[in-house]
């Protein structure tokens, strides 16, 4: 196991290094930089000012030099630099946003996983019934709608229109249209409730997308397992159906899901970018998007590499988990 981990660690470093070169080059080569954008909107900017700004930001250095500067600062000094747009240290900026994204992702992931697995198992056990077909269609529907579209429809439905909110008892079912918190809410229970209230809609949007794929995979995995001989044996032994399902079928069915978890992290991050944009949820996805478009290279590099590290770590974790759960698999 140690050799396996060591090999993977080495591979991770190589991958990250390669990625950083690729990303940096792409970012720098992309035409249009903020200094010129500035110049274009203000007729009074003078050429000396532009030159000064370009020097200040090091925009005219050759590519390898800029990369070297960034690399030395990041790797050898742990200094992620300053955001060109916000003037704040990148580490602080990302730290704040990260918490928010993690909250959203965990909530959405949790709902998607739990609901998806439950729905998938139910669907597998009642194959070809009406409920199976209904659930199948809903699962697919969740995957077939553009995320931002669904987000906007949810906002209109649950935050603006919400006719049921006229009834006082159901007033809380009218959700805020975006944002993470209401400024000025007194602390304690009220803050917690406020945050949760804001969390619900974006979680639902992100979650319904994830749930659909989980449901499908659980269903097919369960279907395959249920046909196996050892399940038939368990049934023949006279075990109640509940035990057969929970103790024998489900565990084996859920093993392949583990790899799926790792592989779907990038997909969820994608969905998060769009969801955060629509809901103005101050998270990493939104930050990354703005940094890439706004040519804030320090932030973009840090965020991209962070995502990469996250994904790779999850992959490794998934492989380890796989080995733990399935005794037939051994690494060396």
């Amino acid at each position: 196991m140690q050799r396996f981990l060591f090999r993977r660690a080495v591979q991770t470093v190589i991958i990250l290094a390669g990625l950083s070169v690729l990303m940096f080059t792409l970012l720098v080569v992309t035409p249009g930089d903020p200094v010129e954008l500035l110049a274009a909107s203000d007729p009074n900017i003078q050429p000396e000012d532009i030159k000064g700004l370009r020097e200040y930001y090091g925009l005219d250095d050759p590519l390898y030099l800029r990369y070297k500067k960034w690399l030395t600062a990041t790797v050898f000094h742990g200094d992620l630099g300053y955001s060109r747009t916000y003037g704040q240290p990148v580490r602080k900026l990302i730290g704040d946003r990260l918490k928010n994204t993690v909250t959203l992702l965990t909530a959405a992931f949790g709902i998607a996983l739990v609901l998806g697995v439950i729905v998938g198992i139910y669907s597998a056990l009642h194959q070809y019934s009406l409920s199976d077909y209904t659930i199948t269609i809903f699962s697919f529907a969740g995957l077939a709608m553009p995320v931002f579209w669904q987000a906007i429809v949810f906002i209109l439905l649950f935050a603006v229109w919400a006719p049921w909110a006229q009834i006082p008892a159901l007033a809380w079912l009218k959700f805020p249209a975006g944002g993470m918190m209401t400024p000025g809410v007194a602390g304690g229970a009220a803050t917690i409730f406020d945050r949760l209230h804001h969390l619900i809609l974006p979680t639902l949007v992100l979650g319904t997308h994830g749930m659909a794929s989980w449901a499908r995979y659980t269903r097919s995995s369960m279907l395959e397992v249920v046909r196996q001989d050892y399940v038939r044996t368990a049934r023949a032994k006279g075990n109640p159906e509940r035990v057969v399902v929970n103790k024998h079928a489900m565990r084996n069915a859920l093993i392949p899901l583990i790899t799926l978890v790792a592989l779907s992290i990038p997909g969820i991050l994608n969905g998060a970018v769009l969801t955060e944009t629509v809901f103005s949820w101050p998270g990493m996805g939104l930050l990354l998007f703005q940094a890439v478009l706004g040519h804030d290279h320090a932030v973009a590099m840090a965020a991209l590499l962070f995502f990469a590290l996250l994904t790779i770590s999850f992959n490794i974790l998934a492989d380890i988990a796989y080995a733990i759960v399935d005794p037939r698999i051994r690494y060396d």
Partner: protein, 556 residues
Amino acid sequence: MTHRGGSWFVVCVTVIVSLGLLPALPSPASAQQQRDTVVIGMAQEPDCLISSFCSMAAGSAVLNSMFASMVEYNDQWKLVPRRVEKIPTVKDGDWQLLPNKRMKLTYKIRPGFTWHDGKPVTAIDTSWTYLMLRNPRSPTISRFILRKIDNMLVPDPNNPYTLVVQWNELYPFANTGHTTLPKHVMEQAYQQDPSKLKTHKQNTAPVGNGPYKIIEWVPGSHITLEAYDKFPGGAAKIKRQVWRFILDSTVLQANQIAGQVDATEINNFSIDQMVEIEKRNPQIAAHYTPSLTWEHIDLNLDNEWLKDKRVRQALVYAINRDEMAAKLFLGKQPVAHTWLPTLHEGHNAKVKKYAYDPARAKALLAEAGFKPGTDGILRDAAGKRVELTIMTTAGNAQREQVEVIMKEQLKDVGIDLKIDNRPASVFFGQITNRRQFPHLAMYAWVMSPISSGLLWHSGQIPTPANNFEGQNIPGWRNAENDKLIDEALTELDAAKRIQLLQREQEIWVDELPSIPLFFRLSLTTAKKALKGVKPAGLSGTYITWNSEEWFWSQQQ
């Protein structure tokens, strides 16, 4: 199974209903209902809060509430004193003209203004700020005006409220005041390393001298301001001012309709969206304020076809700008016939106007030597098909609509218009700056009450030789116009200056280096119950320029 399913359902419903009945849970909307807060929604988040170091409009909007400038433009576009006793004028002697094109202005700062940490605001702060910004190592964005100033002094050490500014150029707009930042807050960092000033705390939690001070800035979410109790003239009537960043304009629109924000500024709304807001929620007032943003189409005067004045004039005759203004912009956005807005002192209302006249356009094109081909599209003298390409920023609905309408209308006179849009950073970074557009480029210049005609000077054409400096994007050369511009730049007599500007516009309208389209509107909204809101439509003067005067009326 059905039994279990049914009981689950009942459980869920019970939980939902009982949650709503819990009295301890406050409705989040109640925070807004309190009359001591006003929530302003913006579709942009500021990048920093030191105005000289940043570029985004969102920052300036918030700063409007936090800083009181020396002199400002009100909603009638008139210059009024704010932190000074009076505005210096030549007549009163506090604006002196000296030999060798030098000038000396004297300001008397009103005592009584304090920084949010209690220290008094004096002329020393202003003169220090000038030095700091002038330093080439500071991350100042534009030193255009600073270079015209030789020195800023506080001549009398016992009277820190008199400021003397020495100019080395006859700048007509020298009496518009100067940026003032707190010396005692920033000096130490400045002495250590001016280039690091952009990361100073003043950028994220600025100490200002205006009616509101900052409480918190939660990046990505909101900025909270609170009324400064020691503001001269009394603290602002509304205790808290919250700026919420809602980046998607449709969601912002939904928030305004639902009443979850009280006003919006820098909202990226279209005129249609504004109309919809008023329709859906009659308690919201939509403001359509004429602004100084000049939407136009630059023509590449190096192109073989566009070199000919008749072709350019034909283009303008061929487009029905009046119809666009009436139907697309619901009559709220006026057609521009020249490049200066109506409220500008030099605006020439009597220039030649090009009404929609496709027959005239065809005649001009025929005169210029074009003949229609078999597919209805014109061919030039060499037989080449007349295809023009128009470029603008991608993702801008209004501009795209104008492009599509133009395509139809130009087809009617035999020109095939191709549309090629690019993202803004590319468009401004390369296409306009380096004059890389083949024929037409549509975008906007933000003019100001002190705009001059410098834009159109032939010395301002960006070329590889001068490192692409300059903003005469069409590449227009006109000797008479150049002379007029040079004169007007240093003409202090307003009447004479206006005369020069008007003649410049006459020439411009005849030569048409660009097609003037519209003066865009500044679109803002506010609840009707919020009184005192006076949108100005000037860049730099946002809806909050007078936010200390706002108050909530009694009705809902």
